[in-house]
């Protein structure tokens, strides 16, 4: 089980790399924003898998809840900014 979870962790890191490619390469700013959202979802999952791997889920789960809430604030602010920028 430990080995399997480690493989899952590495695979998730590689997937984050795929999203990072989109963030770095994206033709428009919205592609970057989208990649950022994908990265944060992966990071939430990665944290929980990490918690299972260390068998200390009670510590890691709180950070992932915090991530999920903060991600909303950051992304909404970003989307709102981009919306207003084009209007003015």
């Amino acid at each position: 089980m430990k080995v399997f979870l480690f493989c899952v962790l590495v695979l998730l890191a590689i997937l984050i790399g795929a999203y990072l490619y989109r963030v770095l390469q994206g033709p428009t700013i919205f592609d970057r924003l989208l990649g950022h959202n994908g990265i944060s979802t992966k990071a939430i999952i990665l944290l929980i898998v990490m918690g299972i791997y260390f068998e200390r889920v009670d510590m890691f789960i709180d950070i992932s809840i915090g991530y999920a809430l903060l991600n909303l604030v950051g992304s909404l602010a970003m989307a709102k900014y981009l919306e207003q920028k084009e209007h003015s």
């Binding site: 990072l20 990265i39 950070i63 991600n71």
Partner: protein
């Protein structure tokens, strides 16, 4: 086995940091810095410092991004494109030298996780043995941060709280 997972995380960090410097647009740089904080807090979480990871996520990914954005809101630049002149000759010489020097110095540091390094034999055993009896906190890093050094941490928390209040006030005015 435990340490090899740091390599992909550190690679991601490096790529993000380089991207944040090299990208052509101010908005994208802000976004990349947000991702950078995410990865950095993943590294902290992997090292077991859960509180540091949480603060990094709150300050770096949440507040930092929103504060950068509010600055962009407030200044309202017509053009957020970054223009950067090519680096001068002195930069090209000094910084690689500095990097080589730092790498050379890092070679003399004790190995990561070495039980005989000065940091591990001096005070860490006391913390590891006594922190649970002293504070009833299950995580040693949390015990050090939140109990032994709680005044220091309280100052940091006040800073974060102030930043949060400033954020809320500015956002309210905008909406």
């Amino acid at each position: 086995m435990i340490f090899s997972f740091e390599i992909p995380l550190l690679l991601l960090l490096l790529v993000t940091a380089a991207g944040a410097i090299l990208v052509k647009d101010l908005m994208s740089a802000v976004l990349l810095l947000g991702s950078y904080s995410f990865f950095l807090s993943l590294v902290w979480a992997w090292l077991g410092a859960v509180d540091v990871a949480f603060v990094e996520a709150v300050v770096g990914a949440g507040l930092g991004t929103v504060l950068f954005l509010l600055t962009l809101f407030g200044t309202a630049p017509k053009d957020t494109r970054l223009r950067r002149p090519p680096p001068s000759l002195a930069t090209l010489i000094v910084f690689p030298l500095l990097g080589v020097l730092l790498l050379y110095a890092a070679d003399d540091l004790p190995e990561f996780g070495n039980p005989k390094s000065p940091a591990s034999v001096h005070i860490s055993p006391t913390y590891i043995e006594q922190s649970y009896q002293d504070t009833r906190t299950p995580n040693v890093v949390t015990a050090v941060l939140m109990d032994y050094r709680s005044l220091d941490t309280m100052g940091e928390t006040v800073v974060i709280f102030t930043a949060g209040i400033a954020c809320a006030l500015l956002l309210r005015r905008n909406s």
